[in-house]
Amino acid sequence: MANPSNKAASAMPMSQERPGLSAGQVQEFTLVSRLKPGGAQRMRQLFKGGFTGERQKNTDRIGTVHDLRFIIFDNDTRVIFASTFDGTWDTYIDDFGTKIPDEIDLLFHECEGYPGIHSPQIKDWIVDQQVTATAFYSAYPQATVRDVWKALKARSALGALLDQA
């Protein structure tokens, strides 16, 4: 890659041909897209409840997403989708298309030119909208979402054990 700051990304195997920086095994993913007319309004409506309840549960099931956020900006004409996750997004993209196609389509269908999760162009579309961060920091670059969940579980189990002692 031409940009030396992208060297970090090329340390992640699957991302050799993809944008995005990595730190340890986590990767930043930032997508900037134009919205369809009226899309901003519909997106606000869709995400009114945030990622709670069923949506939280379904997103948890992915098991590799540390966080994600949507930012509508530029006078409601554009959106930023920003996330941090384990590994690389394209490893599991076909699995998402098979197991949770509607959820993925829901996230992006207000984006202009979004071809749909089943489109053979989906990977190219994502890469086209993706902007590589200038710098990326992670406090726990080696820990996956599953590592963190497991550690929290172990901590509470240990706490319970000590409380009984």
Partner: protein, 451 residues
């Protein structure tokens, strides 16, 4: 009721190697050829085509020996395949296996610079796989293959290796292997008598394994082009492994306090006992009757073992074919299957020997499927050389993982799990390559290319 149409595969145009299980017992040889002249390469191919076995009635053990042929990207170039067509192949195939080392975790001793010649070089063009039921039939098929290029000075044999079944159909580690392969939808004639299918496993769409048919996502391959080249073709990942049986035995000895415990830990690593009996169905001790019964030795689900107390999450078998173990996760297991043609080479290390005798022994696997990236590469990178998918951090497959003396292996048990440390490398990659295995008519298309 509307019954969805099941594509019936054109088995007469698909190579036998794709669908036909190895004979039992088996003998065979892999041969690699280099083509230094496209016209001679095509002449060789023209003569070879009538020798290449189709997959007709692949489920019947009727063939005494058969020849399969596949090409690397360099090999297709050497035959004079047009650039447009060469460029239409998937990137992993164009790059070749050695270039994918970072994805495949082929580091350290497994790294391509340590591979045997001609693996990882541009000299590997054509791979021949000959499977036979005895030495005589092997010689016959080999001789026919040799005749197709013996008088062509620009075709050279750059590699040959013989393989054969070890006593009892065991692999060098002492386990019965080759017990499971996915069921390819539409591959068996209606009314044919085949081994009983595992009730827990659905047939997988043919397009996952052979181009020209719908795959699990409903799509039919549109590349490589032209269709004449891709129809009824597939890809295979060729992997040759050296197996360090002495290291395996020594490690078991070091972590177990009795021979019975050694056997248990070995079974926990594999997911099956030596007989082939799966831990899910025989958790406490080996059950040779179960192991030998092909109607029962795959007849299980992980739903009765979701805590991994019988078969550890990290066991080799559960990793490379998780069946229904991951059904609560966002992973479409049916996208990550391949057909496995495993063969062993070398003589077994005599029972009880704990010191390496320096002999070459191991396995060669042809991992066959239409999507190398989602199949072989996914399984190798996500399931065999990582542990995150089972919340095991960076723990690798205990058997085929790239451990360098620092490997761990987690055995769930009550009240607390047991974790083994210091796993060495039991298996070393000594070569590998991605090949394209065309259908029979496509072989004709290749042979008819003009310079």
């Amino acid at each position: 009721m509307l019954i969805p149409a099941v594509p019936v595969l054109d088995v007469s145009d698909i190579q036998a190697t794709v669908l036909r299980p190895r004979p039992s017992p088996y003998r065979g040889e892999y041969v690699v050829l280099r083509i230094d002249d496209a016209a001679q390469g095509r002449e060789m191919l023209r003569r070879m085509i009538p020798r290449v076995a189709p997959a007709d009635e692949w489920w019947l053990p009727t063939l005494p020996g058969w020849l399969g042929i596949a090409f690397t990207h360099e090999g297709l170039k050497a035959l004079g395949v047009p650039q447009e067509s060469l460029d239409s192949f998937p990137v992993e195939f164009r790059q070749g296996m050695a270039a994918r080392a970072a994805i495949l975790h082929d580091f350290g001793d497994d790294a391509p610079p340590n591979w045997e010649y001609p693996f990882g070089t541009a000299d590997m063009h054509v791979a021949l796989a000959i499977y036979a039921n005895d030495e005589q039939n092997l010689t016959k098929v080999l001789e026919r293959a040799r005749q197709s290029h013996a008088d062509l000075p620009h075709i050279s044999v750059v590699y040959r290796m013989q393989f054969g079944e070890l006593p009892g159909g065991r692999n060098p580690f002492g386990f019965r292997d080759g017990l499971h392969n996915p069921h390819v939808e539409g591959s068996v004639a209606e009314g044919a008598v085949t081994p009983t299918r595992n009730a827990y496993e659905a047939a997988i769409k043919a397009g996952e394994f052979i181009m020209g048919y719908p795959d699990e996502s409903g799509a039919t391959a549109t590349s490589p082009v032209p269709e004449d080249l891709r129809h009824n073709g597939t890809f295979l990942a060729f992997r040759k492994f050296h197996m360090d049986v002495a290291a395996f035995r020594k490690y078991l000895r070091s972590v177990a306090s009795s021979p019975a415990e050694e056997e248990l830990i070995a079974a926990k690593m594999v997911g099956r006992w030596r007989s082939g009996a799966p831990l899910v169905l025989a958790a406490e001790s080996d059950d040779p009757k179960l192991g030998a019964d092909q109607n029962r030795n795959n007849d299980f689900s992980y739903q009765t073992d979701m805590k991994g107390l019988k078969c550890p999450f990290s066991a080799h078998m559960r990793r490379v074919n998780p069946r229904d173990a991951l059904k609560d996760d966002i992973v479409a297991v049916n996208l990550h299957h391949f057909l496995r043609r495993g063969t062993n080479f070398g003589l077994p290390l005599p029972d009880g020997v704990l010191e390496d005798d320096g002999a070459e022994r191991g396995g060669v696997f042809l991992l066959i499927g239409a999507h190398l990236r989602q199949q072989f590469e996914f399984v190798q990178s996500q399931w065999a050389t990582d542990g995150n998918f089972i919340s095991h951090g960076t723990e690798q497959d205990p058997l085929i993982g790239n451990n360098e003396g620092d490997g761990v292996f987690t055995i769930p048990q009550r009240p607390v799990r047991r974790r083994l440390h210091g796993l060495p490398r039991f298996v070393t990659v000594s070569g590998g390559e991605y090949c394209f295995m065309p259908g029979l008519r496509a072989l004709g298309w290749l042979a008819a290319l003009k310079s």
